[in-house]
């Protein structure tokens, strides 16, 4: 029964166990992908408990719909999509008022140019990201890390394309400022 599932079992074996509702198989699958997917809600939310809640909701969806996974692509990628969409659902549901900002002119691409970033470890970068305002953080994560285009971001977040651009610009500016501040404080 449970002996067939170990922490080193193949994804397919664990997947089968999860479909059968085996709790140990579910635990091992969860444990295997926790580290990789916990980063996703952490990038979008500034609260660790909320992030864990969203991740668990995502895993619940995964366990409930594993049967419908046809194996077209890697399991990890399919799971990653569910985690991301669950996170974005949560981000959308948190907004009481939607706000659209239109600018008559296209904003210029102002990427972050700061050497300090190279010295930061991922955990510190995540902390910096979490300090950004909600929408700016979501747009930055979607654009820079998840590789979405502004049009797609606009659809995902229910905002306009230009608005997405300006949030990205805002996020970059704020990150730049934070990095600069960090550099200054380190120098002192």
């Amino acid at each position: 029964m449970n002996d067939q599932y170990t922490t080193t079992s193949a994804d397919e074996t664990l997947m089968q166990g999860c479909i059968e509702g085996n709790r140990l198989a579910q635990k091992y699958l969860y444990q295997r992908y926790y580290g990789q997917y916990m980063v996703v809600p952490l990038r979008y939310l500034n609260n660790r408990e909320d992030a864990l809640g969203v991740l668990n909701q995502a895993f619940l969806k995964i366990f409930n719909s594993l049967e419908s996974f046809k194996g077209d692509g890697p399991l990890a990628a399919w799971m990653g999509k569910i985690v991301l969409h669950t996170t974005l659902d949560h981000v959308r549901s948190q907004k009481t008022y939607r706000q659209k900002i239109h600018f008559p002119t296209e904003p210029e691409e102002q990427p972050i140019e700061n050497e300090a970033m190279n010295n930061l470890v991922a955990e510190e970068l995540l902390t910096l990201l979490q300090k950004l305002p909600d929408t700016a953080r979501a747009v930055f994560s979607l654009y820079v890390i998840d590789g979405f285009k502004h049009r797609e971001i606009a659809e995902q977040l229910g905002i306009e394309e230009n608005t997405s651009k300006w949030y990205l610009s805002q996020a970059r500016q704020l990150l730049q400022d934070m990095l600069h501040q960090q550099k200054t404080s380190q120098a002192l």
Binding site: Y34, L52, N56, Q57, K61, S68, Y97, I145, Q170
Partner: protein, 479 residues
Amino acid sequence: MKAQQPDHEKRLKESILAYRVPFEEQAWDAMDALLDGEAGKKAPAEPPAPQGTPMRSTKYRRFFIFLFLLSAVVVFSAKQGVNLLEKTKAPASSSTPSNKMKNGAQDAALSSGLTSATTADENTVENPTTTPATTVAERTFNQSTTTPAATQNGQKANLRESSLGNSGSTTRKRATNPNRGWAVGRIKPASSANNFKGGNTSFTPGNIAGSNSGLTAAAPQNNAVPETSTGLIVADSMLNEPMKSLDNLAFLPLLPLDSLNSARDLPAAEAVPVKNKTRRNLQRGWVLGGNLGIVDYQPLYFSVRPVVGYHVAFPMQNGYVQTGLLVTGAKGYNQRANFEYSSPGGNLQIEVSLNNLVFLEVPLVYQRAFTGDKRQFWLAGIRTAVVLPVNNFVSNAGTILPNNSIFPNANIDLYDGVRWFDLGLTLGWQWRFSERWAIDVRYTQGLMDLTHDNFFNNTETTLNSDLQLTFRHYVSTFK
């Protein structure tokens, strides 16, 4: 095409994507609990990559399931309450002084060979010649009636205020008489015939057992002290006090009631001041339920929100006037407003949308029973409401302009475009399905346009019309 990602951002992306959060056992514990909850529900499989917010129908279904469960719980608990009341009423009635007396007398008769003559609504020891034995009775007696009785029999007054230091069975009754006070006494009828009337009599087996055997006792069955009585209450008292003599037993009223100034005249364990009944002329309690608000008519769009509050009702001719304080809300107004700001760094156009409103409602309705059992009411009246300023500021401070300068300040108060006061007409039905619970359904037609057209880009009328289904629990009811 997406622009080439700068090196720093590329590194940031790689760094974050490569990062793995260390596994925590508590995370699995939370997941485990979630799975346990889900296993109970047996949720159907969901699509692999769900997107967007839940469907409206799902939301409504959840709401109605919630309402159904809530109503089931309320009805069940109300029924339980009624049953409990019935259950507790039965023993309570058997433990009323009169019954206790009766039982006590019967027990006494059984245990000591007494012949118990129990006569309903009569407090007379029958056939004095055949009942010459000693009767020890503790009774509620009426000053006006017992005095002559005792005098008639020419018996020596041998009653005294009881010291009542005893524990053990104590018969008490709260007098309903406005004259407050307690009197405790022992009746020691003489060996001659006793013929006393009025009041309740209780027989204490212990006392009787200590007396002569072959006693005949009359156990009356009066239910309560008459309203006109001075309300003397007699408690069981003499268990620990052996009778010195069975001779010269007689009874007289104790001290006049007026001389008992307060409960301190008697031991605390025995003396309980009697409170006058006060008429309660309001009923009040809590309200909990759901609010189905109509936030858009074309197309019809509903909002589902909880409603909580407190309600009060006053009696009025042929009905009640009901008011209260309730908090509820509506979601989905979707009113948009555009703003344009000019700044040296460029023009800024901002569109904000208002979706949610929170209301503090004060209904004032007249409710009148339309069934004979006065359990179902129709109600009609008005509802006033105040729009609460909740989360109404939208801040654009920090928005970056095309020249990379930060926009100074563009705080928008959405409630500048919202009318703060609302008025509506209410019509509804209420069913009082138990003493403490009622279910209430009411429709309120909003009469005022809540949004200013010159603020929002919408000339449509925004009304606060809703259907409220609530459960009302009565903390106190009319007396």
